[in-house]
Amino acid sequence: MTAPAAAPSTLKRTPLYELHRELGAKLIDFGGWEMPVQYAGILEEHRAVRERVGLFDVSHMGELEFSGSEALAALQRLTPNDVGRLADGRIQYSAFLTERGTFVDDLLVYRKAADSYLVVVNASNTPKDFGWARERSRGEVRVEDRSDETALIAVQGPRAAALMARVAVPDPVDLPYYGFRDTSVGGAPTLVSRTGYTGEDGFEIYCRPEDAERLFRALLSEGEPEGVAPCGLGARDTLRLEAKMALYGNDIDDTVTPWEADLGWIVRMEKGEFIGRDALAAQKASGVPRKLVGFEMVDRGIARHGYSARTAAGGGVVTSGTHSPTLGKPIGLALLPRAAAAVGTDFSVDIRGRDGSARVVKTPFYKRSDAHP
């Protein structure tokens, strides 16, 4: 067996690092951050989130603040979704795109007020995104990187609302999906949003770094009746993949457009000019060559990120692959030629020199039954 490498010591750490060690987490290098990949085990943590409630430290995520009278105009130019449709206290999934229409990053836009927005980006992209956005923001807008002043804890699962009801004031149970507001959690000032990356109901708590450990401990102890479990990035990955949520660096990057990623719904061509719009219009006109699809393995074994795919219509590539704890079989996402992207299409994946047979399936792989209003 080949031993997996442990994390080198030059990595960035979140305010919860010491607590992760105390809780027995296995720590790994994730995009330059020393993060918990698992505590009790990926499958067990996955189950905790699907059946009860799990806590995730996602403090490595980046937070960029846009403020000023032209903040809205700047974000309209920087992102393909229509920020003008956002009301105060509401959130939108969107992206920064290159001039070629490919992803600089995918992100969430929080509208605090007409002149104040929070943009939450992927950890390893934060410096790139900050520079990219600042260079392209003109007029009365300030772009500031608040990442170092912000910790982030995700509370995810069917019992997340019951747990939050006991620790948060006001009770966030009435928050709509993709809504947020200022909330006191365990006495600490936070911003709570009804968002997540697991396919379950859940909340994300933005807090000050100095409050993070106390908050995480409070959620652990208050959540005992709910069967709360600390969860690592391993379970986060299996959960998001079952929900077919894209992961930057795996499924999307600066070679992939929203059309190809099956994320056309975040592109509002009618809103007017934005960076990447011309390229997206051109790609739509000439035909989108490939599509991100979900697949199941027919054969045994996991088709992992980067494995090549062979279809009747040409080559493709696996962008994510794992064992689905919910379905009990290997699943994944792949970029396939459009002619081979229909549900039910068979293709093969080169699994370390062996041909593994796979089939395009309907996504998401998992959808929770008690859909939140």
Partner: protein, 130 residues
């Protein structure tokens, strides 16, 4: 099963020799490093390997790892139970979680492998390096 009668490789496999049959598995340390094992690929009976050859793969949710045989020989038996329920390798890596049984080509190789004590020291040193 006690680890005392086993011999170990630097790639974290073990072998237990009984007559001319060597039973091969992965160590407790290996299963811990991998995490929950979800797939196991093993060869057919009759395959012949030299010591150090790759004879299969073991996959956890996060990683795939090759398996290397500690000794030379012909595959005499494969643990079908472990293929069907790979979690048994996590639960009992030195017992019910064994992988293959080889009819040994030679009795000269086993002595060159690490003892339990040597292996424990090897794991400690490997951990300190990282």
């Amino acid at each position: 099963m006690s680890a005392e009668e086993l011999r170990f490789t630097q790639s974290h496999e073990w072998v237990r020799v009984d007559g001319d049959i060597g039973t091969v598995g992965i160590t407790e340390h290996a299963q811990k490093q991998l995490g929950e094992i979800v797939y196991l690929e093993l060869p057919e009976v009759g395959h012949v390997y030299n010591a150090g050859d790759e004879f299969g793969t073991v996959e956890s949710v996060k990683a795939v790892s090759e398996l290397f045989t500690p000794v030379s020989g012909e595959v005499a038996e494969v643990n079908k139970g472990a293929i069907a329920e790979p979690g048994i390798i996590n639960d009992d890596p030195f017992g019910d979680g064994w992988l293959i049984r080889l009819k040994l080509s030679t009795d000269q190789e086993v002595a060159q492998l690490m003892s339990a004590e040597d292996y424990a020291r090897f794991v400690r040193e490997e951990e300190q390096e990282t």
